[in-house]
């Protein structure tokens, strides 16, 4: 059996993603696709933020490309990237065996539960921009943090009833560990014996350099500041519209388009932060402004059918 397990080890980054997809699909989650906007983490996807609100049951999993401009290191740091992937699982209400389900997913990607030391170490989660918090753990495998495990308690200042269970896997770090790779850029993205073998670096090194330069030194802060204000204004304007659409005569509250603007504002803020033009005091004010947008969108969402109204 042990031999079989060894044979079963994943060979590449995408292998791990595919196995997670297969595993969570098998557990009944809807396999969503990444959200088509720039976000800082998988949590920003409306499938997590908005769907954790209201009473309707929900189960979804997806890969989310995530951007943190301040973490750019020109592709040189073995662990840090300004663009990376998160794997996100959200289930509402959180099932009683969520820990066991999670551990099953680690086995599915080739972590042998008989040889490793898996631990749930206290780590409470809070997102000031989303006005959200939850309790849970960071999950350690042999001393390495491989996932975040959170029971959402509040999102956008609203109590989560029922509670959503959220699992977030940092895919690069997890895969590096499973594949035994020391530098992210050396990690095989597809199978090393494929006709065109590609490493993570083949695909992303150049982009990391380009974005690092742009994020830190080139991005036009005047334009960004304007974009922030535009997104903020548009978000409010969308939600200011009457619920009844004059053209169709239907009730259409536009929570999702408004939330897109909140996401946009949040990302623009991250870019401004990377450019170093936001002082410590201003920082809090910007975070507060994004939180106010998220709150408005959440208030609108819970008045819609998907929000359980």
């Amino acid at each position: 059996m042990r031999g079989a397990k060894l044979m079963d080890k994943p060979q590449s980054f995408q292998d791990i993603i595919l196995r997670l997809q297969a595993y969570w699909a098998g557990k009944g989650c809807a396999m969503l696709q990444p959200y088509d906007m720039e976000v800082g983490a998988g949590t920003f996807h409306p499938a997590t933020t908005l769907r954790s609100l209201g009473s309707k049951p929900w189960a979804a999993a997806y890969v989310q490309p995530s951007r943190r401009p301040t973490d750019g290191r020109y592709g040189e740091n073995p662990n840090r990237l300004q663009h990376f992937y998160q794997y996100q699982v959200v289930i509402k209400p959180s099932p009683p065996d969520l820990q066991a389900l999670y551990l099953g997913s680690l086995e599915a990607i080739g972590i042998d539960m008989d040889l490793h030391d898996i631990r749930f170490v206290e780590d409470d989660w809070e997102s000031p921009t989303l006005g959200a918090w939850g309790l849970g753990w960071e999950v350690w495998c042999d001393g390495m943090e491989v996932s975040q495990f959170t029971y959402f308690q509040q999102v956008a200042g609203m109590d989560c009833k029922p509670v959503t269970g959220e699992l977030t896997y940092g895919l690069e770090r997890l895969a590096m560990y499973v594949l035994g790779v020391d530098h992210v850029m050396d990690m095989p993205f597809n199978r090393p014996d494929a006709p065109v073998p590609l490493t993570y670096g083949d695909i992303f090194r150049q982009a990391e350099q380009e974005y690092s330069r742009w994020n830190f030194d080139v991005a036009n802060t005047d334009i960004l500041l304007k974009q922030f204000e535009d997104a903020e204004a548009e978000c409010a304007r969308i939600l200011d519209q009457p619920a009844e659409d004059p053209k169709t005569g239907r009730t259409i509250i536009m929570a999702h388009p408004a939330y897109d603007q909140a996401i946009k504002a949040s990302h623009v803020f991250n870019l401004l932060d990377a450019r170093g033009v936001i002082s410590v005091t201003e920082r809090q004010a910007y975070i507060g402004r994004v939180r106010a947008l998220t709150k408005m969108c959440a208030d609108a969402f819970v008045q819609t059918a998907a929000g359980g109204a």
């Binding site: 662990n79 409470d124 495998c141 001393g143 509670v163 005091t281």
Partner: protein, 743 residues
């Protein structure tokens, strides 16, 4: 019979386990006792996944309580009797007639039957679970119950000959079973009592008792280190935490690559402790950290090899980061690091860290002469003491602030006093922290804390009630301990004024430009009226020569600031006195004794103040002291009463030629002798000698009250005697304000 309770949940944060165990024991046993169910002993155990309570010798049934309740008189109106029946919940036929002082009355015996332990336990445990005082709790799934993390099952059994499951009214399965180790022995099993439970858990790879786990970890770690000629760095807090992270501890020792030996030991320790929960293993010969100990939660077929390799890899990455920070930091001169403080706001009304450092440096220079430090060194130390806040290492490991400053100052070849001050100026951080004694460190430590205090006083951000977000009480206590431990003399008030002025004048100069939003803030902060502000702002006062009235305004302002009677500074001083009272009370000095000394002049000289208080308390504990105090009180009471009656004060000097009685003459003589002695002693600051001189007054004062009638018939004699009493008061008040002391 015995009761066993286990609350089985997902992983409980290590830091909460101990307190949760204590709370569980207290709440359940209190609930039982309140309901009349006593017990012999109770013990509590915690693991990451369970809280367990074992109560032995539980009373099976609470005693039946009988209470006789008196009702109305037999002759009372029917309505009153009905009311009594309703209130007592009994029927008319339960009533008995009894004779009472008032005549025949109705009486009823109310019987509260005893309740079974199981019934009470159900009630108590359900309530305890629902209202458990977790510091932070959560809901999960679609349920309403709150617990620290999802609660999975409750084991609740009473055992005697038979095992009985005690129901618990919460929305999780309740029974006689539990689970073993998550990975090594999954699956449920039933238990029949505590011994069975503990033994079966151990067989299922769960060590129930946290102290047993901690002992095992420490034993295995120290043995392993000893075998290699090494020692484990003692860390009780980490040991307790790690024992709370595992149910089946397995100690593994790993290597640290030699590349990292050059890092300061504290850096290795912080990095390993904070991020990885590793113990450091030191080579006693070199003092270097050469290995680490990690504690796994399981045994594996490969003897932990995979686990250790993984941990080692994570550590390697962490230490590579630390090494990178260390080497980068060493390349940056401290002055350059300090310059970056310009970009860091300390507080939006108190400017940047760089401005703060400049104030501290100026103040440290002033203080240096008072504490026998070289002013130039004190200034130099102050200028770089916060530089390490801008180092990459401290950014990553904030707990190394100060210490890294020392390392970087040493590496830059700065004088030892300067390097020491970088580390020590933060001290004392808490009531048990060390107090610096090296003069340069003392000067910078004082300047740092005093600048913080006068700054927040200047912008009126004082601590209120339980709110002290800037830790100002701690800063004041730090100053007090620095002054006392180093026997520092000199008036604090002068230093406060200097430091306060630096904040205020700084702001004033900042206003030389045009009107700004900040100016309104400034006016508010410093209590200027709009007119004053206008006159200040409409003309720039540094090029102001032409306008006399403006000069005088600025001068007036400056005079106000630079006054020892500056109300802000006086307010700060009284804050210090409050802190000092708390501090001295902990040292066993009475509140009233402190007050008697605080009322004396020079009360900003804390060293003298404490010396006085200690000597006074010691004196009051002697026979002479106690009697003298009584004599003082008597004199003072008579004097106050007579002064009030006569509407005059008897402050004139008494004249010995009007003294008639021998005891009176003796008191005159004694006072005449004591007064100069006290004067001299106080000038020499020999408080004990002053007390001794006072002691000599006890007998003559006692003699006076025994042998002399104060209210004599002859007005001149009476007046003279009252003046003599006043003289007693005056002489004694030279030493301390005795009227403050409770007798």
């Amino acid at each position: 019979m015995d009761y066993l309770l286990e609350l089985f949940s997902e992983e409980i944060p290590a830091r909460m386990q101990k307190r949760a165990g204590e709370d569980l024991k207290k709440l359940v046993t209190n609930g039982l006792v309140e309901a009349g169910i006593t017990y012999e002993s109770a013990a509590v155990f915690t693991t990451p996944r369970r809280l367990c309570l074992n109560v032995c010798g539980v009373l099976e049934q609470s005693p039946t309580l009988r209470e006789e309740r008196k009702g109305p008189r037999v002759s009372a109106p029917d309505k009153a009797i009905e009311g009594f029946l309703r209130g007592a919940g009994v029927a008319r036929e339960d009533l008995v007639v009894k004779a009472d002082k008032k005549g025949d009355i109705y009486v009823v015996e109310i019987v509260k039957p005893g309740r079974g332990a199981a019934e009470v336990l159900t009630e108590v445990v359900s309530e305890v679970i629902r209202k458990f005082p977790w510091p932070k709790s959560m809901r999960w799934g679609a349920g309403q119950l709150r617990w620290v993390r999802p609660l999975h099952s409750v084991l609740s059994i009473l055992s005697k000959e038979e095992v009985e499951v005690v129901p618990v009214d919460v929305d999780v399965p309740v029974g006689d079973s539990t689970e073993g180790h998550r990975f090594m022995a999954p699956g449920r099993f039933s238990v029949s009592g505590f011994e069975d439970y503990e033994a079966k858990l151990k067989a299922a790879y769960v060590m129930l008792d946290p102290s047993e786990r901690a002992d095992l970890i420490w034993h295995d770690a120290t043995n392993g280190a000893f075998a290699l000629g090494l020692e484990v760095v003692d860390d009780r807090a980490l040991l307790a935490e790690v024992a709370g992270l595992v149910e089946w501890p397995v100690v593994l020792m790993g290597d640290i690559a030699e590349d990292f030996f050059a890092l300061p030991a504290e850096v290795l320790q912080s990095s390993m402790r904070e991020h990885q929960k590793f113990f450091s293993v030191r080579n006693p010969k070199t003092g270097r950290i050469e290995k680490f100990v990690t504690v796994a939660n399981r045994e594996t077929a490969d003897g932990g090899a995979t686990i250790l390799a993984g941990n080692q890899k994570v550590l390697f990455a962490r230490l590579s980061d630390a090494k990178f920070f260390w080497e980068n930091d060493l390349r940056v001169p401290l002055g350059e690091m300090a310059a970056k403080l310009e970009k860091v706001t300390f507080h939006n009304k108190l400017g940047t860290q760089a401005e703060r450092v400049a104030r501290i440096a100026a103040l440290a220079r002033e203080i240096a002469t008072d504490v026998d430090a070289d002013p130039a060194l004190a200034e130099q130390a102050a200028e770089i003491c916060k530089a390490d806040l801008m180092s990459e290492m401290v950014y990553e490991f904030p707990e190394l602030q100060g210490l890294m400053g020392r390392y970087y100052a040493e590496a830059a070849g700065m004088p030892a006093e300067v390097a020491n001050a970088c580390e020590q100026h933060w001290q004392p951080l808490g009531p048990s922290d060390n107090v610096p004694t090296e003069p340069v460190s003392v000067a910078v430590a004082l300047a740092d804390k005093i600048d913080t205090l006068t700054g927040f006083w200047a912008i009126d951000e004082k601590p209120t009630g339980s709110k002290d977000p800037f830790a100002l009480r701690r800063a004041a206590l730090g100053v007090i301990r620095l002054v006392l431990a180093n026997d520092l003399r000199g008036a604090l008030r002068h230093i406060f004024v200097l430091s306060y002025a630096d904040h205020v004048i700084d702001k004033l100069q900042g206003l030389q430009g045009a009107r700004s939003k900040a100016s309104a803030e400034f006016a508010k902060t410093f209590g200027f009226t709009d007119d004053e502000m206008d006159s200040l702002l409409s003309r720039k006062f540094d090029e102001m020569a032409p306008h006399e009235e403006q000069k005088s305004f600025v001068k007036g302002f400056a005079n106000q600031v630079f006054s020892l009677e500056n109300p802000t500074v006086l307010n700060l001083l009284s804050f210090f006195h409050d802190r000092l009272k708390v501090y001295l009370k902990d040292k066993g000095i009475r509140h009233d004794v402190i007050d008697a000394c605080l009322k004396m002049p020079g009360n900003d000289d804390l060293t003298l103040l404490v010396k006085r208080a200690e000597a006074l308390q010691a004196f009051l504990n002697t026979d002479d002291g106690e009697n003298l105090l009584q004599g003082f009180k008597r004199a003072n009471n008579i004097l106050r009463a007579e002064e009030k009656k006569d509407g005059v004060s008897y402050e004139g000097e008494p004249d010995v030629k009007f003294a008639e009685e021998p005891a009176e003459k003796a008191l005159f003589a004694a006072l005449k002798e004591a007064a100069p002695k006290i004067e001299t002693a106080l000038n020499d600051e020999n408080i004990e000698a002053a007390m001794a001189a006072l002691a000599a007054l006890r007998a003559p004062i006692d003699g006076f009250f025994d042998g002399v009638q104060v209210n004599a018939d002859k007005p001149i004699v009476r007046r003279n005697r009252l003046c003599l009493l006043n003289e007693i008061r005056a002489v004694m008040h030279k030493v301390a304000v005795f009227s403050e002391i409770n007798g």
